[in-house]
Symmetry: C2
Subunit: 69 residues, 2 copies
DNA sequence: ACTTTTTTACTGTTATAACAGTAAAATAAT
DNA sequence: ATTATTTTACTGTTATAACAGTAAAAAAGT
């Protein structure tokens, strides 16, 4: 669940969108270091910053449990 | 995507697991304030802390995009 | 090969998340 | 209704994420 390489997913989508780290950072309203950290799988980033990046790249988040499945 | 009430989901699962905020916090290895903040939809929590809580509650995270769908 | 762009990596500073402690509401239990 | 438990809310302190700046390494373009 947690070992999933979210950084690679984001990098891949960023590339396909033709964006540099800096451009993505600007669009998401975060610093370039934050985008770099996220792609490098840093786990201590703030949720709102990650979500801001995901929003730009049109990546949606879903939460699944044995209950609400 | 972002307006989803994750706090309510977590609170619901915690209740169904018969855990108090403090117990969940201890199990997840975070402070009680963090669990409180997460349930109150605070968006600036750290990713690793949120994931630690989700792990205890058996809630999985999925990332979906128009590409990898 | 050279130039330009991008990424990686490190810095010092600033803002703030995380935390334990406390106490007052709110809720549940007897 | 009392008591006990849990949740909410507020503190001050500490740890660290975020940030811009810089520069070197890597990649892409000419």
């Amino acid at each position: 669940m947690d070992d999933f390489d979210l950084g690679a997913l984001i990098k891949d989508h960023r590339k396909k969108a033709g964006l540099t780290q800096l451009e993505l950072a600007d669009l998401a309203g975060v610093g370039k270091t934050t985008v770099f950290d996220i792609e490098k799988k840093k786990k201590t980033v703030r949720l709102n910053n990650l979500f801001a990046v995901l929003r730009v790249l049109n990546i949606k988040v879903e939460f699944k449990s044995p209950l609400n499945k």
